[in-house]
């Protein structure tokens, strides 16, 4: 049994080795770059998901103020992403990152000590700033430390780690909520732990930012290729946010109890799917180009919306949650890769702020509004969203592939050489 297990582990390692055999990024840099972003990203999702629990440790706060706090958190994250992307070009990056991590740890840990409405609102601002100020810089290191032909896989590893951390954190948090009276403290400790992961990264390597050409926001918005890539991503996030209103509609139906299993298991799988598909997306993006995973992801989301809209049932809801989770895995990795491709070593943080982070926050905001208001929209919205998603694929088909064509050709050539050589060797043996 042991021999079988170690054989299986060796096979997985070899497969992983094959996928990273052409990596130019060193192992140290790879670990540092991925950990720098993944811990903070996981932290953001966990804080957002358990906002109420961590803000009502010892003092009961009205739901209205909790939702205001959430809105303040997201708004300050948005503003600080924009500010952070601008100051990254002008400041010492290591000092920025250390300050950013320290702020995040302080803002998170202080939740265990200070409570109440006013502190909640102040801390919401600090939490948002502690995410946004340094995160574009973190993702921007992808352009410096990873070359184009490996960027997808490195980005895939970031999101694989982040979603894996999120799943683990959710498991611990849910267990503590069920069985413990100090669930909020445990969740805060989890969040502190997740933020601390970035410290490991800073200890591993002295992050340096390549001083490239500084670009204005105008020139970035004016980049035709960027706009063509951005349209599907924005539509994806808006649509994913809007479907929360459809879910509210399902909750409000008389037979909503029938959907309980779909929501519970489906949501769990919804977060597991990106863990797997983030890695797949990275491999596809580096091998075949960035456009293919975008098209896959959009088609998957379109199909899942169509299923939900046309055959509304617990099964279609479950399938929607599962397939959309996979779509997230595909898309989020590509949209963490394309900004580096397009930035050409200049103002990559602004590209990340615009392309990766802000659309995500739009999604969360729409979801937040749906949860806060309880408003619902009939399930036919889902069918309309599916058509919009399919149509949104068109701009990216018109965009120029950002993975260099020579890279795609070289990989194809190398794979072709292997296959042809095998054939020739067989022929030589027969002769």
């Amino acid at each position: 049994m042991q021999a079988l297990t170690s054989k299986a582990v060796r096979r997985v390692y070899m497969k992983f080795g094959v996928l990273t055999a052409d990596f130019r990024i060193s192992r140290r840099n790879f670990v540092a770059v991925t950990l720098l972003s993944s811990g903070t990203l996981a932290w953001f999702f966990v804080v957002f998901a358990y906002f109420e629990d961590i803000f009502t440790l010892s003092v009961k706060v009205d739901m209205f103020w909790i939702n205001i706090g959430k809105a303040v958190f997201v708004t300050s994250a948005v503003l600080s992403v924009i500010i952070g992307s601008m100051i990254a070009e002008k400041t010492n990056v290591r000092k920025l990152l250390w300050s950013w991590i320290a702020l995040g740890l302080l803002a998170t840990a202080s939740l265990a000590v200070f409570q109440g409405i006013y502190f909640s609102l102040l801390d919401s601002v600090l939490l948002g700033v502690s995410f946004g100020l340094g995160f574009p810089c973190c993702l921007g290191f992808l352009s410096h430390y990873a070359v184009a032909e490996e960027r997808g896989r490195v980005a895939g590893a970031i999101f694989f780690e982040a979603f894996a951390f999120v799943v683990l954190a959710f498991l611990v948090a849910e267990q503590s909520l069920i069985s413990s009276g100090i669930a909020g403290v445990i969740i805060i400790m989890l969040c502190v732990g997740l933020r601390s992961i970035s410290i490991l990264a800073l200890v591993l390597i002295p992050f340096q930012r390549e001083q490239g050409k500084e670009r204005s926001w105008g020139s970035i918005f004016g980049n035709r290729n960027l706009v063509l890539y951005l349209i599907p991503w924005i539509m994806f996030n808006i649509a994913s946010g809007l479907v929360s209103f459809v879910q509210n509609w399902i909750y409000q139906q008389p037979n909503s109890a029938d959907y309980d299993w779909a929501f519970t298991i489906g949501n769990a799988i919804h977060f597991l799917m990106p863990v797997i598909f983030a890695l797949i997306s990275g491999v596809v993006a580096d091998r075949f180009g960035r456009k293919q995973p975008i098209v896959f992801g959009m088609i998957m989301l379109g199909i899942s919306f169509a299923l939900l809209g046309s055959f509304t049932s617990p099964l279609s809801l479950f399938l929607y949650l599962t397939i959309s989770g996979a779509a997230w895995g595909f898309l989020i990795v590509v949209y963490a890769t394309v900004p580096s491709d397009l930035a050409y070593g200049g103002s990559q943080e602004k590209f990340y702020a615009l392309c990766t982070i802000l659309p995500l926050i739009v999604n969360l905001s729409i979801t937040g509004i749906a949860n806060f208001s309880g408003a619902s929209m009939a399930v036919t919205l889902s069918s309309i969203l599916s058509i919009i998603i399919f149509v949104s694929i068109i701009p990216v088909l018109r965009a120029t592939e950002t993975l260099p064509e020579s890279t795609i050709r070289e990989k194809e050539a190398r794979e072709h050489v292997k296959k042809v050589e095998k054939l020739v060797e067989e022929s030589r043996k027969k002769a």
Binding site: R409, A413, H416, V417, K418, V420, E421, V424, A431
Partner: protein, 267 residues
């Protein structure tokens, strides 16, 4: 077991003189009594049919499609050239539709099926026709049919000019695919062609620099320069240079080719 040698000429860029060299080499071997088969694997920009001025009824493309055998596509040019041995030439189709077909047929299944036909044809040539040399002219750069042709060769000869662009490009190409290609025993060598210095106005040319460049090249590529052929305008820029090595045996170009043929025999 095949006893003959399969030699492929390749280059990073076009215009290095591959077709001229390999055609002359084929004719030289045939003049010396050998049985030689020359195949035009430059399927994307075929030139041998223009060089030999032939329009055969069947082309290499037909062999790849499985619509013709190797004996159908070979043209015997021995008697018209007055050679002592035998020279058989297989041409690629210069028709636009055939070139387009090759350009777009990337699917692996078709490629491997075509390769099996090529390998079967190669075995037939060595076993039945008892050829001594199979020479393959290929397309420059990294293209499917260049790789396919190089894969079946025992010796790969990279023809290059001594310019920075060519040198850097060749080094990259060696790193990208040659190391994989030579895993199963084939070897690659370098041929420097159109080397400046043969011209009388050579005050700008430094032989010392050229030698130093060769040393660096051998070190950087891990390979050997088997010959260095000077640039001859009457060969390179003649509108219809045709088998100078056979027609003008006293020309320095021909003597260089003889040297190359001896070097290949000994490799």
């Amino acid at each position: 077991m095949t006893l003959g040698k399969t030699i492929a000429f390749h280059s990073y860029k076009g215009g290095t003189g591959k077709t001229t060299l390999i055609s002359n080499l084929a004719a030289l071997y045939a003049k010396n009594g050998k049985t030689v088969c020359l195949l035009d694997f430059d399927l994307y920009a075929p030139s041998l049919s223009a060089y030999f001025r032939k329009s055969p009824s069947c082309y290499l493309n037909d062999l790849l499609r499985g619509e013709a055998s190797i004996s159908d596509i070979l043209v015997d040019v021995t008697s018209e050239l007055g050679l002592n041995g035998k020279l058989l030439v297989g041409f690629s189709s210069p028709r636009k539709e055939d070139i387009n077909e090759i350009e777009i047929k990337h699917e692996l299944k078709w490629q491997l099926a075509a390769m099996r036909r090529v390998l079967a044809a190669k075995n037939q040539l060595f076993e039945d026709s008892k050829i001594d040399y199979l020479l393959l002219d290929t397309s420059p750069g990294i293209r499917y049919w260049s790789i396919n042709a190089l894969a079946i060769a025992d010796g790969l000869f990279l023809v290059m000019k001594i310019s920075d662009m060519d040198i850097e490009g060749t080094k990259r190409m060696i790193k990208d695919i040659y190391d994989s290609l030579t895993r199963f025993g084939s070897r690659y060598y370098l041929i420097l062609n159109k080397v400046p210095g043969a011209s009388p106005n050579s005050e700008y040319f430094s032989e010392k620099e050229a030698v130093a460049a060769v040393v660096d090249l051998e070190r950087d590529t891990g390979s050997r320069v088997v010959t260095s052929i000077p640039c001859f305008c009457d060969v390179s820029f003649n509108r219809h240079e045709f088998l100078s090595a056979v027609k003008q045996p006293e020309h320095l170009f021909s003597k260089k080719l003889i040297g190359l043929s001896e070097a290949i025999k000994d490799l």
